[in-house]
């Protein structure tokens, strides 16, 4: 496998973007990345793209924007892995360069929620759940049960159970979720691309928001954003050939593992996942990515992490599964301020997915933000400590897909 560097990053402004259509939104991130890399569009040899299928109301938006991003006449591939897709697109772009197939590859992922009436729900989630619901209706589910399902359905519903599981496992309280959400809003206020910004937000501010379904408050929930994120990969030879002089971020190891889906599976079959906060897929992905990156002790060798955590308990849970804290102890680190931008182990200094969630974009945005921290270009939310290694994580599917990418300031030897 060849060494691969991220030579350019681009993000569209995330939020409610009624000023652009999907193609323009994607193009915004792409041209920002091309400009950042300081290369010409002709230098890009192949494109890896993807979003959460169906969420923006267009089933296959990649069909309409190839020419907006200069992909006409070049290879372009789309991946779809649900919420994890940004991470998977980032991996695909990396595979294409690491394998020796291409020297310069652009990877972009995006989401445009606001085009759908109930963001994402109608066109996105129903097409995932409709088959199961139809089947359950056939075997005699009544309307009351159907409505109860709606109380805690989809990713937010599964995550609410997961939060309860995590509380049982770690002994933390809702006040810790408040702290994590407040940190996300505060950090987002320093990030010009973020969606939900709340300067000086405190845990008390979050605690005052409405309880949607215990243990999840309104203040804990991520927004449905529009946005796009993009990185450009180059092989070690191409970095030299293109004359890239500014700092780049080197990909040191990637891994992605699937687990059994949590909750009822296809057509209401049971699964053997009885604790949603187990996240075996995240543990396996992290272990393999560290092995490939030559990281022996993630607690000491990783300097900053961007975790895919739309809900605050997930930042705690995943930071344990990814090996940054011992099982059930991350909330203590949050109490002590360890995960703040200026803490010993900053987590999601960008504000993370909890403050900005354009689903397809979110996984890629973690890679972008981790790379920016390594390059020292995160501006206001740059962590003050020296960043040698950073981790970008993505999560999705039916709670069971995970991707992990380890980035570093020097190529792997």
């Amino acid at each position: 496998m060849r060494n691969v560097a991220i030579i350019g990053c681009g993000q569209a402004k995330h939020g409610r973007r009624t000023d652009v259509n999907q193609a323009e939104l994607v193009a915004e991130a792409v041209w920002a990345a091309v400009e950042d890399a300081g290369i010409a569009p002709e230098d890009i040899e192949a494109y890896a793209v993807g979003n959460m299928q169906g969420f923006g109301g267009i089933a296959q938006p990649d069909l309409v924007f190839a020419d907006y991003i200069g992909a006409a006449g070049k290879p372009m591939q789309r991946v779809a892995t649900g919420g994890t897709v940004g991470g998977s697109v980032a991996h695909l772009g990396y595979y294409e360069v690491a394998s020796g197939m291409y020297d310069v590859v652009l990877a972009v992922s995006w989401e445009k929620h606001s085009d759908s009436a109930e963001p994402g729900a109608t066109t996105g989630l129903l097409h995932v759940a409709y088959a199961n619901l139809s089947y359950m209706m056939k075997v005699g589910m009544d309307m009351r049960s159907f409505a109860i399902m709606g109380l805690a359905g989809a990713a937010a519903g599964i995550s609410a159970y997961q939060a309860a599981f995590y509380m049982a496992r770690s002994g933390c309280g809702i006040e810790h979720f408040d702290m994590v959400a407040a940190k996300a809003r505060r950090n987002a206020a320093k990030n010009k691309y973020a969606h939900l910004k709340w300067p000086n937000c405190t845990a008390d501010d979050i605690a005052k928001t409405e309880m949607l379904i215990w243990p999840m408050r309104f203040g804990h929930v991520c927004p449905a954003s529009d946005g796009a994120s993009c990185v450009i990969y180059a092989s070690e030879e191409a970095v030299k050939k293109l004359g890239v002089e500014k700092p780049v971020a080197w990909v040191k190891g990637v891994a992605a593992y699937a687990d059994e889906e949590a909750d009822q599976g296809e057509a209401y079959q049971g699964t053997a996942v009885v604790d949603y906060s187990d996240q075996t897929g995240a543990i396996l992905s992290a272990m393999k990515a560290y092995e490939r990156a030559g990281i022996k002790d993630p607690k000491k060798e990783i300097d900053v992490a961007e975790i895919y955590a739309p809900f605050p308990h997930q930042e705690l849970m995943f930071s344990e599964r990814l090996g940054f804290f011992d099982d059930g102890t991350a909330w203590k680190a949050v109490e002590e301020g360890v995960t703040e931008i200026d803490g010993d182990f900053p987590i999601c200094p960008s504000g993370g997915v909890n403050a900005t969630n354009a689903i397809g974009s979110s996984g890629m945005q973690r890679v972008v933000e981790a790379a920016l921290q390594i390059m020292g270009k995160a501006e206001e939310h740059q962590v003050p400590k020296d960043v040698r290694n950073a981790v970008a994580h993505a999560w999705g599917g039916q709670v069971q897909f995970n991707t992990v990418m380890v980035l570093g300031d020097s190529p792997k030897r």
Partner: protein, 174 residues
């Protein structure tokens, strides 16, 4: 891009509707029908994987851990434990809208009721089911509490026969 940004502050919006018509969803024949049919006799029948000994409720056809076909059926206990739970606030109109239907307005859910949802593992099984927890106050619910199945007065062999679970007998030292 420059031109687009200079010219427009907002994109043109065109309202659209999409009638997707009828779909045919395929599901394995029989296995869930049988599970639900047994509800008529107030029995919970799971499937047993002979490879790893896991018992699945709801039943599943293929064990994802062993990747083998499951054919054995076993009746499991009516008692179980709460693995995780959620508590809704008192329900109001306009709060639970699913695919454009207001569940309170339509009468599926009662105004003011507070719903407790529990993830229940029935004794002897290796999987869990989401069921409403009935006849309990939110403040009395705790993780690991023992619950038992609550059946409809008249069971017809439908998914709705299993109404939910309620706290099992509580024996304490006094």
């Amino acid at each position: 891009m420059g031109l687009i940004k200079e010219k427009y502050e907002k994109t043109m919006q065109v309202e659209g509707e999409w009638n997707i018509g009828a779909y045919r969803y395929k599901a394995p024949e029989g296995y869930l029908d049988e599970f639900v049919k047994n509800f008529r006799d107030r029995k919970i029948i799971g499937t047993l994987c002979t490879g790893c000994g896991r018992v699945y409720v709801p039943p599943r056809e293929i064990c994802a851990r062993c990747f083998q076909k499951i054919t054995e059926k076993v009746e499991v206990s009516q008692y179980g434990e709460v693995l995780a739970f959620l508590v809704s606030p008192p329900l109001e109109k306009g709060k639970v809208v699913i695919a454009g239907i207001d569940a309170v307005q339509a009468g599926f859910l009662k105004e003011g009721e507070q719903i407790i949802l529990a993830m229940v593992r029935f004794e002897g099984t290796s999987s869990s089911m989401v069921l409403p927890l009935l006849n309990a106050k939110p403040e009395d619910v705790r993780l690991g509490m023992r619950v038992k199945a609550v059946w409809a007065e008249e069971c017809k062999g439908a998914l709705s026969d299993l109404v939910g679970v309620e706290p099992a007998f509580d024996v304490r030292f006094k």
